[in-house]
Every structure is written in structure tokens, then in C-alpha cells.
């Protein structure tokens, strides 16, 4: 750990709190982020881009007479900070009084993130030649497959971020975390019939990165399986979501469960606490304390300790996800999900079931495996979903051919009640994730007829 730097940031945060209080603010919260980034793109065997950098950033929030102002700067000069503080207090005067405004009352820091497993010292020890080798090797193996006609390149990234957080209630916390990621993106087919696919692995620890050959093979398989797609006719059919797609659906679910969207009335799940909103098979957790996972952290962006929450239990909505502000608006407790000025997930996931993916496919006499979506088309206000889609057509329990240029439409509220099977293939590849699922019916639009 950079002990000297940690101490410097601690002093800076404490100085800023003191200065802000001396200028008349009632409450203040300071965040300092210090990051180091290395990123490398290799394409067709040659290095294309190599980026190495360090950056730091300070954000603070001041509250005076229950009026709030924010400021942020990458210029950490004390004169700049003083000016921003004075501006901030002046600006706060022009806001309106908001009885819910304020910083978190939590003052108990969980201290060092020991046991959470989010820092790998290899981030500093790793040789850049090794990073170049990993990216080059991944792309080389992928390009050995003759069906691959072009490459978007392979990338290797490492990142280290130190977070310092302090507030005028006496909270102080500091932790460092690391990320390693390796991936490759490919094209197959000829100019007028091109398909694209990719695979990657992102982890807290270098040793957890999937082997180059595995990433390459997955990327190849995901690319070539889309070759020679057909359009299908417009119809209502059952749909299997691959784990990545379940993650996408859960991301939409998360955005509909934030306390912010509830008090703003921008979610169809407002007012549904304690109700059966999903099939009994559905249990969803948000857990910020799972060792080594991508959404793990000792405390949230307001210093509230993270925890394990059951968000949906056997289909019943148990809690919204809140930061301090949305919790006060809803007369609830913060769930430790503050993320900047909004609400974010820790490890938000759907509890896996018992069936493996092949068994699920076998149950389907006719339907679509959804492999990728494109576009926007998510409306949290009513739960409507409408996206461009790519997939694999299933007939009699087997993959028949790839499908492209169709759209899928449905409604999240109905989908939650129509999840028929949940797979056992949950992997924590991103902060929001889930296993394969089968949904009873959605509309797929393609050709008329």
C-alpha cells in the first residue's frame, strides 16, 4: 500500500472538512479517488495502443441549513479547493431547504477491507511484457481458427484505485482495490454477411483471469455460431436467456428497484414492497461482502457499511436499494448502496436453480436462445422492454440455426412472473449477474406472415 499517499489524503480530507466547517457549513463529506491504469490493445499480432496513467479526483458535498451543493475537482491545489468550498457554500444558499438532505449518520468505519479480497499486489509487480504476451497470445489462438476473418483486437487492462472517504460526522475510511481484465473481439464471415462476437474475463486477482486459450475459444465459438443467420416470422415463443442476457435483464430490474426511482415515481415497482412481484422460484440478493467479487467493497460512497440483503425472496419484494437520501425520502434505512450521488449495485444476483443449460434447452420444443441484444428500449416507468435481438433457434430441444435482425418485446413485470426454469450456471462475471433462465413467452418480431 502507498502509506505515504494514504496519510496525505487523510490529512487533505481532514483539512477540507475543517475548512468547510469554519466557513459555516453544517455538514460535509469528502471523497478522494486515486487511480492507476494500464491498458493495452493488440490487433493482428501488433500492439495498437498502450495507455498508462495515473489520475486523482476529489469530490465533496456541503450542506448548510439543509441545502445541498456538490463540487468536484482534479486540481487538488489548496487554493482551488478553498475557492470551491466558498462557491459551494454560496451556491447552497440558492438551493431550497430539503428536510431529507444530509450526510450519512454512520460513523463506524469497518476499517481496512481485510478478508474482502479485493486487492492483489500483483497489480504492481506484473511486468508489462507479460501483459503484452497475454493479449497477443489470446488473439493468436483465436485467429488460428480459419472461420475468423478479422479481429477487433485483444485487450489487457489493469487498474488500481484507492478510495478515501471522510465526513463531518467523524467517519473515516480508506481502501484499495484492483481489477484485471483480458478479452478479445472477433469477426467472422464475408463483408455482406459479417458477424461479431467477443469474450473476456474481469477479476480482482490476476490468477483468476481465465486462461488465454479458454477466452480465445469462447470468443471464437460465440462469433461463428452466428454465421448464416435467418430471420424468423413474427410470433410469441418461449425464450432462454443466456447468463449474460440474464445479467442484462437483472440490470434493468436493479434500475427499477432503486429507492431513487421509487420516490421519483419512475419505476413500475414503486409501492410494491411486500407483494408477490415474481414467481416463487425467484430469489435475488445484493451482497457487498462476498470475498473477491467485482461488486464487493467495505463501505458505500457515503461510508455506510455494505451488507447482504435479500431483495426478492421467493418472489416477494423485501427491500428497495437505498442511499441515505432515498432512504430518508422513503422513511427507510440506507442499504449501503450509495454510488456517487445515485444508487448502485454491490453484487446483485439471481439465486441459481438446479438445471444445467443443456437440460433447459432440451425442454424446449420450439423457441429462441437469446444471446445478444442491441439498442435502448428499456422503460423503467412501466417495465416495457423492446430490443434488437440475436439468438439461436431451437427445435425439438436442439440448436437448429442462428437468428438475427429480430426484436424481442415484453414487460419486466410479466417476465418476472413467467420465469419457468432457473439454471445452475451462475458465475460472478460482473457486479450484476444471473444464471440461464427460461421465460414462458415473449414476442419476437421478424418477417410478416
Amino acid at each position: 500500500m502507498k502509506d505515504r499517499q494514504s496519510e496525505d489524503y487523510r490529512e487533505l480530507a481532514e483539512w477540507l472538512i475543517g475548512f468547510t466547517r469554519s466557513k459555516g457549513a453544517d455538514e460535509v463529506e469528502v471523497t478522494i479517488l486515486d487511480g492507476t491504469e494500464f491498458s493495452l490493445d493488440v490487433r493482428l499480432g501488433e500492439i495498437e495502443n498502450l495507455i498508462e496513467a495515473g489520475s486523482r479526483h476529489l469530490d465533496f458535498k456541503v450542506i448548510k441549513d439543509q441545502k445541498t451543493a456538490y463540487a468536484s475537482t482534479s486540481d487538488l491545489d489548496k487554493e482551488t479547493l478553498k475557492r470551491l468550498v466558498i462557491n459551494g457554500i454560496d451556491r447552497a444558499e440558492l438551493s431550497n431547504r430539503d428536510i431529507c438532505a444530509g450526510i450519512s449518520p454512520h460513523i463506524q468505519s469497518t476499517g481496512k477491507p481485510d478478508g474482502l479480497g479485493i486487492y492483489d499486489p500483483m497489480v504492481r509487480e506484473m511486468d508489462s511484457r507479460e501483459k503484452i504476451r497475454m493479449a497477443t497470445e489470446t488473439e493468436r489462438i483465436a485467429l488460428e481458427d480459419k472461420r475468423i476473418t478479422n479481429s477487433h483486437g485483444a485487450s489487457m487492462e489493469t487498474r488500481e484505485v484507492q478510495t478515501t472517504l471522510a465526513n463531518s460526522n467523524g467517519f473515516f475510511g480508506q481502501y484499495s482495490e484492483t481489477l484485471f481484465s483480458l478479452g478479445v473481439a472477433l469477426q467472422a464471415g464475408e463483408t455482406d454477411n459479417m458477424v461479431e462476437g467477443s469474450w473476456g474475463s474481469t477479476c480482482r486477482f490476476l490468477k483468476e483471469i481465465e486462461p488465454e486459450a479458454h477466452i480465445a475459444r469462447k470468443a471464437v465459438e460465440r462469433t461463428v455460431r452466428q454465421l448464416d443467420p435467418r430471420k424468423i416470422q413474427t410470433q410469441n415463443i418461449p425464450i432462454i436467456f443466456e447468463p449474460r442476457m440474464t445479467g442484462w435483464l437483472l440490470g434493468f430490474l436493479f434500475s427499477c428497484l432503486t429507492g431513487t426511482s421509487v420516490y421519483q415515481k419512475t419505476t413500475f415497482l414503486a409501492g410494491k414492497l411486500g407483494e408477490q412481484i415474481a414467481d416463487k422460484k425467484i430469489t435475488v440478493f445484493d451482497d457487498g461482502r462476498m470475498s473477491g467479487k467485482l461488486g464487493t467493497a467495505p463501505f458505500d460512497s457515503e461510508g455506510v457499511p455494505t451488507s447482504r440483503k435479500t431483495v426478492i425472496e421467493s418472489g416477494v419484494l423485501k427491500t428497495y436499494l437505498n442511499n441515505t437520501y432515498s432512504a430518508r425520502k422513503l422513511d427507510m434505512e440506507s442499504t449501503g448502496n450509495a454510488d456517487g450521488s445515485g444508487v448502485g449495485p454491490t453484487n446483485f444476483y439471481l439465486k441459481p436453480g438446479e438445471n444445467d443449460q443443456l437440460e433447459i434447452i432440451k425442454t424446449m420444443s420450439k423457441g429462441l436462445i437469446l444471446t445478444r441484444t442491441m439498442g435502448h428500449g428499456l422503460n423503467p416507468v412501466n417495465g416495457d422492454i423492446s430490443r434488437g435481438a440475436f439468438g439461436l433457434w431451437i427445435e425439438d430441444g436442439e440448436i437448429a440455426y442462428p437468428v438475427s435482425e429480430v426484436t424481442i418485446s415484453g414487460n419486466l413485470g410479466r417476465i418476472l412472473k413467467e420465469i419457468e426454469i432457473i439454471g445452475n450456471d451462475l458465475e460472478f462475471r460482473s457486479p450484476i449477474c444471473g444464471p440461464t433462465i427460461l421465460i414462458g413467452e415473449m414476442t419476437v418480431a421478424g418477417q410478416s406472415g
Binding site: 428500449g377 434488437g388 418485446s409
Partner: protein, 476 residues
């Protein structure tokens, strides 16, 4: 604002030309072909109004230096916002290491180039304006939306202004600066009736001053438009599903041109042969009625700039002329590797990013048809009115998401519909553009395009367009 004489970096950064020259040389010390220093200082302020109160305001300062070295087709890049000489030199050495030989050339002495034009001569800049004046704009939009209809349950208005000071210095002796203003006022309105709940959105801005809101577009109009869309959607039916003729509304539908054509004529995708268009230069890729431009020189537009993020003065670029592919959007690296001239489309989100070819203001030129005449020509079809956005991949497959539209029955717009996705492949759709209206309009001055993790402000424009057949994704 005086754009021609300001050299803000040397106020903010306290770095002299001589020192910069040394850094450019240091960056070439391993044998690179080209070195560049990008300096950026940005001041951003924001206001949020919801639940009838000014809830919060913010001020943000970002600054940093990005050093780039090009060696053949390789790029080394390093950035820092710690501006101590030691850190800057270390960034130069890091970027230099993309080449691994001996020094081959020194940087040409810097020669300050003044901009001969200013695309954004504004009266009252967002940076200079009083916070009270900006709060007043937010309130006007808010109250208009709220009072529009009893069904409006929730309004959220945000105002933001950004002033971006950039200076680019490179080993070819270029030194050029720009001060780029940006304002954005957006309104979200939510309407509720019974179990039905819908949202509407509108906004405006660009590289303008506050005077824009008394002349070009008032905050009241922004509030009204957001509320109107939300209320209209309460009565909207689910979209139909299947293939049918589609008419695109003028203005908002420009996103189709952005997705279906724009990204695939960005030179990096052509150079790497990943774009479906890579071998189609000079060929007919659309019907003859289709002419498309990308123009970074439209005054006050969100996608415009006096210089791009590599210091190149941009040009209005003809991309498709009467159906033929004739132009690409170039940055330095791609233009030199492709041996084509620069067009001034090298843009970056900020100092932490490598510049890449990007769109600016992309539009399809107006045609000969009257809008009503186009609508009358469809017996049964779909009218796409407003959009949430779109996406394309290099293979040419694209989607765009319609937030509101209408059914067309017997040549008239009838039932309002909501939430549909249009999907297609670009060459196919470009050859199905059957009629183009004479009513070219630009969409909202609020759009940001994402590519390779970098956001860039853009606009797009389009007249009324009829596509003979397209897949509309809705509910069956």
C-alpha cells in the same frame, strides 16, 4: 467570448512553450514519428430541480495533460492530472516507449496558429452567467411541464453548462487553442392515469449562451414538449410487430442516419476493414435520392468545433452523394495510414482518451417531397416520431428505439403507439429509402454518442423519410 487570443493553459498550467517543446522532444526520444500534447481544463456547473425545489447544484473542475506518440500504426499514450514537471516527463517517457529505437527526429519549433473563425460567438456564457439566471431557466421549464396537465405527477429538470479550454501542441510545430462552451437544459415529465404511467422527455442547448433560451428555444417550450409526450403516451397502444412501411419523422429520426451510416464511415473501421463499407468507396450503396453530410462547422451546434481534438480545422464532409459512398471521417492516424486528407473528425472525450474518428453533426440532405404527400402514400404502416437512441455494429446491423409513434392507416396518422424497436441492416435500408421530404430538421441539441467508451456531443438531422419495408418490433 474571445476565442482567438486566449491561452488559458498557460494560466492554469504554468508551463512555458520552451518546456512544452522539451516534452515533445522527450516523447520522440525512442524514435516515434509524431508526438503531441493535449491540454485540457474544464469547468462544469449543474442544477437539479425536482419535487418542486432546487435540490442541488454542482461545480466541477477537470484538468490534465495527455501525451501521445505515434510510431507507424502504433499509439503510445499517457496522461496525468498531476502537473509537476517530473510527472509530465514521466508521462512523455511512457508514451515514447511505444517505439523502441533511437531518436530519429526532433520536434519542429512551435508556431502558434490562431483560429480564423469562431463557430460559437456567444453573448452570455454559461460560465459567466449568475446562478440565479440559470435557476430561473430550470424553474420555467419545470413549472410549464407541471401545469401542462393534471396527469403530470413528476417533473425533473436539469441544467448544465461546460466550458472546455483545450490547447494542442505537436511535433510538427502546431500550437492551437479553443474555448468550447456547451449548455444543456433537459426536462423529464412523468404522467399517471390509473395503472398507466409514462414518461416524456425534451431538451435543448448547444454551443450557445443563455440568450439561446429567449431566442431559439424557450424553457417553456422544453417543459411543454416533455409533458405533452408523457400525456400522449398514456393513451398510446403497444406497437405493432412485423415488417411494414415505416415513415421517419423529421429531426428526431436523424439518429437513423447516425447509426445506419455514420459509424461505418469513421475511418478507423475502414482502415481495419471491420466496417461493411471498407471496400465500397466510390460504389453505390444507397438509392440515388440519398445524400449525406457530416458537418462540424454549423454555428452553435452541439456537435460543432473550431478545431478538433488534434488541432485540425474541420470541414463539412460529403459522405454519400446521390447514393454513392464518397467520403470518410478522418483523424490523423487513419488519414496518414490511408494516405487521405484530414477532415477534422479526430475527437476525444477528454485528456484521458486517445483521439479517434467521430461524427459531429450528421444529416441526410432534404429531398423533393412534401411531408403530407409522403404520409398519404402509405396505406398501412408505422410512423416513428421520437427516439431514445440507437446502436450499430460494424456488420451494418443496427437498431433504434422509438419512444413514441403512430399507426398509419389509409394515408393518415391514427393511433398513438409507444415503445418499439426498429431493426435492419444498413445497405438494405439505404436502398429502401423510397421518398425524402424537403423538410430537413435537426434533432434535440442534447445527444451524446458513445464509441470505444468515449462520449462525444453530436447532433443529427433528417427530413421526413419513407422506408418501403422495415422490421418493427412490438407486441403481437
Amino acid at each position: 467570448m474571445d476565442n482567438t487570443h486566449t491561452l488559458p493553459f498557460f494560466d492554469f498550467f504554468h508551463i512555458s512553450d520552451r518546456e512544452m517543446q522539451k516534452v515533445l522532444d522527450l516523447a520522440l526520444s525512442r524514435g516515434g514519428d509524431f508526438s503531441e500534447i493535449f491540454c485540457e481544463y474544464r469547468i462544469h456547473s449543474s442544477i437539479l430541480m425536482e419535487e418542486d425545489i432546487i435540490k442541488e447544484t454542482g461545480e466541477s473542475i477537470g484538468m490534465g495533460i495527455g501525451i501521445r506518440v505515434i510510431s507507424g500504426d502504433k499509439t503510445g499514450y499517457a496522461y496525468t492530472n498531476d502537473l509537476s514537471p517530473a510527472k509530465i516527463n514521466s508521462a512523455a517517457i511512457t508514451a515514447a516507449s511505444i517505439a523502441n529505437g533511437k531518436i530519429r527526429q526532433k520536434a519542429v519549433p512551435l508556431n502558434f496558429k490562431t483560429n480564423t473563425h469562431n463557430l460559437y460567438p456567444i453573448v452570455q456564457s454559461g460560465k459567466e452567467a449568475l446562478l440565479e439566471a440559470k435557476i430561473d431557466l430550470a424553474k420555467k421549464a419545470y413549472l410549464t411541464a407541471q401545469r401542462f396537465d393534471a396527469a403530470i405527477q413528476k417533473v425533473r429538470v436539469s441544467f448544465a453548462d461546460l466550458t472546455r479550454y483545450i490547447t494542442i501542441l505537436n511535433s510538427e510545430g502546431l500550437k492551437v487553442s479553443d474555448v468550447q462552451p456547451m449548455i444543456k437544459l433537459v426536462c423529464l415529465a412523468v404522467a399517471e392515469r390509473g395503472e398507466s404511467r409514462e414518461a416524456g422527455f425534451s431538451g435543448g442547448g448547444g454551443r450557445v449562451g443563455l440568450e439561446y433560451f429567449t431566442g431559439t428555444l424557450t424553457p417553456e417550450e422544453i417543459g411543454r414538449e416533455a409533458a405533452q409526450e408523457a400525456v400522449q403516451l398514456l393513451d398510446a397502444s403497444p406497437s405493432p410487430a412485423g415488417e411494414m412501411p415505416v415513415i421517419l419523422s423529421p429531426g428526431h429520426s436523424g439518429v437513423l442516419i447516425h447509426e445506419a451510416v455514420g459509424h461505418l464511415i469513421e475511418a478507423d473501421f475502414l482502415r481495419k476493414k471491420t466496417s461493411i463499407f471498407w471496400n465500397k468507396s466510390g460504389q453505390k450503396i444507397a438509392r440515388e435520392n440519398v445524400t449525406i453530410y457530416d458537418d462540424p462547422t454549423i454555428p452553435y451546434f452541439r456537435g460543432s468545433y473550431n478545431i478538433d481534438d488534434e488541432g485540425t480545422q474541420p470541414e463539412k464532409t460529403l459522405v454519400i452523394e446521390n447514393g454513392k459512398l464518397v467520403g470518410f471521417l478522418q483523424d490523423r492516424l487513419s488519414s496518414s495510414l490511408m494516405k487521405m486528407s484530414l477532415t477534422g473528425h479526430g475527437r476525444r472525450q477528454d485528456f484521458s482518451c486517445i483521439p479517434i474518428p467521430r461524427m459531429s453533426n450528421t444529416y441526410i440532405a432534404g429531398g423533393e417531397y412534401d411531408r403530407e404527400e409522403i404520409i398519404r402514400s402509405v396505406a398501412k404502416g408505422f410512423y416513428a416520431d421520437k427516439f431514445q437512441g440507437g446502436q450499430v455494429e460494424d456488420s451494418g446491423k443496427f437498431t433504434f428505439s422509438v419512444s413514441s409513434g403512430f399507426l398509419i392507416e389509409d394515408g393518415r396518422l391514427t393511433t398513438p403507439v409507444k415503445q418499439a424497436t426498429l431493426i435492419g441492416t444498413n445497405i438494405d435500408i439505404l436502398n429502401k429509402i423510397e421518398k425524402i421530404g424537403s423538410d430537413l430538421k435537426f434533432g434535440l441539441q442534447t445527444g451524446t454518442c458513445g464509441k470505444g467508451g468515449q462520449g462525444a456531443p453530436v447532433t443529427d438531422g433528417c427530413p421526413t423519410i419513407k422506408i418501403s419495408q422495415m422490421t418493427v418490433g412490438g407486441i403481437k
